[in-house]
Symmetry: C2
Subunit: 347 residues, 2 copies
Amino acid sequence: MAKNVTLKDVARRADVSYQTVSKVIRNQIQVTPEVRARIESAIAELDYHPNSAAQNLRTQSSHLIGYSWQPDGQNHSSPVLEQFQHSIVECAEDFGYHILLFPQRANRNLDSIYEELVHTRRVDGFILSSIEYNDPRAPIIQRLNVPVVSFGRSFDDMDTPYVDVDGRTGMATAVRHVIEQGHQRIAILGWPDTSASGTDRLAGYWDAMAEAELPIDPKWIVRGKGEIDYGYEATHQLLDLPEKRRPTAIVTVLDTIAIGVIQAVEACGLEVGREVAVTGFDDMPVAQHMRPGLTTIRQPVWDVGKAVINMLITFLSGEQPAARQILLAPELVVRESSLGSAQEYRA
Amino acid sequence: MAKNVTLKDVARRADVSYQTVSKVIRNQIQVTPEVRARIESAIAELDYHPNSAAQNLRTQSSHLIGYSWQPDGQNHSSPVLEQFQHSIVECAEDFGYHILLFPQRANRNLDSIYEELVHTRRVDGFILSSIEYNDPRAPIIQRLNVPVVSFGRSFDDMDTPYVDVDGRTGMATAVRHVIEQGHQRIAILGWPDTSASGTDRLAGYWDAMAEAELPIDPKWIVRGKGEIDYGYEATHQLLDLPEKRRPTAIVTVLDTIAIGVIQAVEACGLEVGREVAVTGFDDMPVAQHMRPGLTTIRQPVWDVGKAVINMLITFLSGEQPAARQILLAPELVVRESSLGSAQEYRA
DNA sequence: GCGAGTTAGGCGAACGTTCGCCTATAATGC
DNA sequence: GCATTATAGGCGAACGTTCGCCTAACTCGC
């Protein structure tokens, strides 16, 4: 590696003091056009790039943002988180920040990890995802006086800054949609009540059912874990109900659960769409390519990432954002799995 | 934010010089047990953490590794890359390194991005994934005299260090497996010949077919783009062949392509497994949960990540690794989609 | 033509480490 | 008991910036 080119090298060549070069680069000072030109050409000729370690030391900031996510132990992949990560990386870059990764390792003392990162000044702020009830991370970080913004809410009374998608409204939209398709007996496959977003989405189901004044059979509300197999098994249970209580529509909190539902519906010899409407959540890539196409709720993930970064950058510049808690509306994507004319997708 | 605790603060409290504290922390010096104890308790009492910006400046290294990947524009998710990323993050952490993200942005001048990162001393080395033929990234980085290790090969004559999975052998294993199940007319759904890994995997198909002395109908070799829909449509074409030429087994280069295959096979009223064997590639989460379960080739992704990090760390410590190019063997995972007794999975 | 205000740019100091060299004291050999 | 070596720990310097203050020169009004 060639020797480092420093401010002093540039200064020598441009025949000014190195501090002047520094200021000129950052437009902190007025100089004659002639001097500026000399400096600029010296920079170009020497291929000078400021050393970020020195900048960090001096300015006491790293221009790095830590991103903590919960890697899924079950080897499930998460397109939403994948896209979220992508969005924060690109948006942060536009502000001159980079994203530093560190997963939530199960067997580690949380406090010490964050303290370490903060005290060693490796990162200027944090972004969290996979937030759950009583998530300890945000409070820990806030106690360290470091800005943090999360994707998702913990639904506690803390005022941790977050950006989230309004799952409740999203689910209500899905339910309203199947009601419009003429369904009345509607079941929901949700997540256990330990899941914050699961509970939120379930609330949307209640909202829409109440609004339409439809009765709810307790059997229609299933809260379980898993993905395809969970959907498959739960659906068998639902379809085993006596005919009068058997749901004609099944909404779910995740696309992959809906895949299991569809498989079970087809295994029972029923037609997805016409006989049993099915909806998913997240609009995973698979949703638009499967047959039948899956009606689902698309989260504005890119916008979430953008909003998270904007809020964090605001904090980092010492200001207060207009809103500390932002809720974005998801969008209903209608495909064949919830429509009556199910023939369409049969090749 | 409380004032920074520095070496000097610790030194003052332990009544030694601050340089001594530094050396004691890094075990660069012998001190009496008594002095060591004084220093250690001072560190604990003051909650001292070394400032990494200062360390970086002094040591001319950032303990950061840049990771460049190709975010999939088509909004396809990639469980393999997701897991790879996770593995390098954790393995790097064990060596005191962190991972810095930067996606391949289409409309950017590559050279300048990498130069920027290197010259500003933001990263000490690079990891690349999604390598293709004539991938420009590794050469650019190597020209900057910075260590780089990639996940995947470009199959050129450069000796860029890499760790890759032996897709050729993997595909051959899959083909041998279906041959053992009694199949003779075997088709492959591959990727276009611009895809390096696609071509590699196709070679494995030829290997196994030649080995078994089975004739190959040119129509059986399909090279296309896409996932579920590609598999679906290509399969329809294959099944439309006259009966004598119609394949009874279809191997693919990706699980999601296989999903499309299975849907098409079922749509044609054929039974997956007994009548048409299907295999995927990657062992995505969905493969084990779908019905029928998908026979597939599992890549040892975690091991790849570990090997990549180990190699890069070796380079970073100025040594040469035992091997600059490592090929890991994938593993056949047999499920119902390639087995005759397809009844099993029908609930 | 002189004092006041403005401007270009210089200069010392500091951010918190690590590194290499130096010195004082203790231990050892004879 | 004196010269010699080993050892604990001190000290100055440097890494490459940014920041604030300072000064010299130039502008302008009268």
